[in-house]
């Protein structure tokens, strides 16, 4: 049976995840941290502490892994190229959140279409009905009168049937395009996760998520108001509220992700370990 890792081993795993620099530097930092933590724990054991408690105290005094990792990042001297790379990495993170939000909106859109019907998500003015042949040939909008000589058999029921089909096609196309954007965001997320270890931060890690949170929040408010307007006030033909609502809800999710990102960036920049220098004598 595999032995469970102790507090020091667990801490080193977390510190490894928090470091963003080249492998040789990571090895050095981890070796130095382990030497410190083992010696600090041994000193506590010599002072009478239980081994596990000694390790826990040593780890607590060392500071949160995210904070220590952030301090190592902050002390690195960055070249202009490295700085640009870091800025690009953060902007790519923001773009990834945006693409994933678009993908999410596609899923919501599709769900609305299934649950509330296509009229809830696609308004008549947003699509055209192109009928190249048949009794309603040359009709481009539902309710439009066919040209002279083409009206026989183009009944309102038949027109509505054509319009419903076109509305479903419009919904499918929109949801599919958004799903493609979401898939691209997923691929970008995987790429960023795989490449982040070799890239130092740009030092603007609070600016980028703050901009993202503000941008997504404003966008969500606009889209949610448009959905309310379409549904309640009839400003958009009383139809198609789901189109705006799906975007608004996805933008809210994007704002939540950026806010969590911002909170983490703020947290790791503020030391909150009072009395952390309590080394045993």
């Amino acid at each position: 049976m595999t032995e469970a890792p102790g507090p020091i081993d667990s801490y080193l795993d977390q510190l490894l995840a928090a470091l963003r620099c080249e492998p040789s530097r990571i090895r050095r930092i981890l070796a130095e941290a382990e030497d410190h933590l083992r010696e600090a724990a041994r000193a506590r054991i010599d002072a009478g502490a239980e081994p596990m408690e000694a390790e826990r105290e040593a780890v607590a005094a060392f500071g949160p892994p995210a904070l220590v990792g952030a301090r190592f990042r902050a002390t690195r001297t960055q070249s202009a190229g490295g700085l640009l790379l870091g800025v690009g990495f953060e902007l790519a993170m923001l773009a990834t959140v945006a693409l994933l939000a678009i993908g999410l909106s596609g899923g919501i859109l599709f769900a609305f279409g299934e649950l509330k019907g296509t009229r809830f998500v696609v308004r008549d003015e947003s699509f055209t009905v192109v009928v190249p042949f048949g009794p309603c040939a040359f009709m481009t909008l539902p309710g439009e009168q066919p040209p002279p000589g083409h009206g026989a058999g183009c009944t309102p029921e038949y027109q509505q049937q054509l319009a419903d089909g076109a509305r479903t096609d419009e919904l499918t196309r929109d949801a599919l395009l958004r799903a493609v954007a979401g898939a691209a965001g997923g691929l970008m997320a995987v790429g960023l996760l795989l490449s982040r270890r070799g890239i130092a931060p740009a030092g603007v890690s609070r600016v980028t998520p703050a901009l993202g949170a503000a941008g997504f929040t404003v966008l969500a408010l606009i889209l949610l108001f448009a959905a309310y307007d379409a549904h309640t006030l009839g400003g958009y033909g009383r139809e198609g509220a789901g189109m705006w609502l799906s975007g608004g809800l996805a933008a809210l999710a994007g704002a939540a992700v950026c806010t969590a990102w911002l909170a983490r960036a703020v947290r790791v920049s503020v030391p909150r370990v009072p009395g952390a220098f309590a080394l045993p004598r």
Partner: protein, 107 residues
């Protein structure tokens, strides 16, 4: 004492401790702790980035050895570090004198 009060002075303290004898991270932090009588409440792990920064600046040099099966890095002051320590000590004395002069009898 607030950790931010130490900002800008940590390098001077580390250089001063290392100038007395080469030492590894834990020993340096232990000295900092003992001499300050636990006045500086900052996470111990945040001292290492400062040591690395001093090394990147050429003020200290490090060597590794094996102790109890573990790799141990020991820091020693360089010639540039000695000059930097002298300069920063002088700056601190001027700074301290100016602060005391402003505070006057309240000190």
């Amino acid at each position: 004492m607030r950790p931010d009060l130490l900002k800008g002075h940590l390098d001077l303290l580390l250089l001063s401790i290392i100038s007395e004898a080469p030492a590894h991270g834990y020993a340096i932090i232990d000295q900092l702790h003992r001499r300050s009588e636990e006045a500086f409440a900052l996470p111990e792990g945040t001292v290492y980035p400062a040591l690395h920064r001093l090394e990147d600046a050429g003020f200290v040099a490090s060597t590794t050895s094996r102790v109890d099966g573990r790799s141990r890095r020991t820091y020693a002051l360089t010639g540039d570090g000695r000059h930097a320590l002298a300069e920063r000590r002088q700056e601190w004395l001027i700074f301290k004198g100016a602060i005391n002069a402003v505070l006057g009898e309240q000190v």
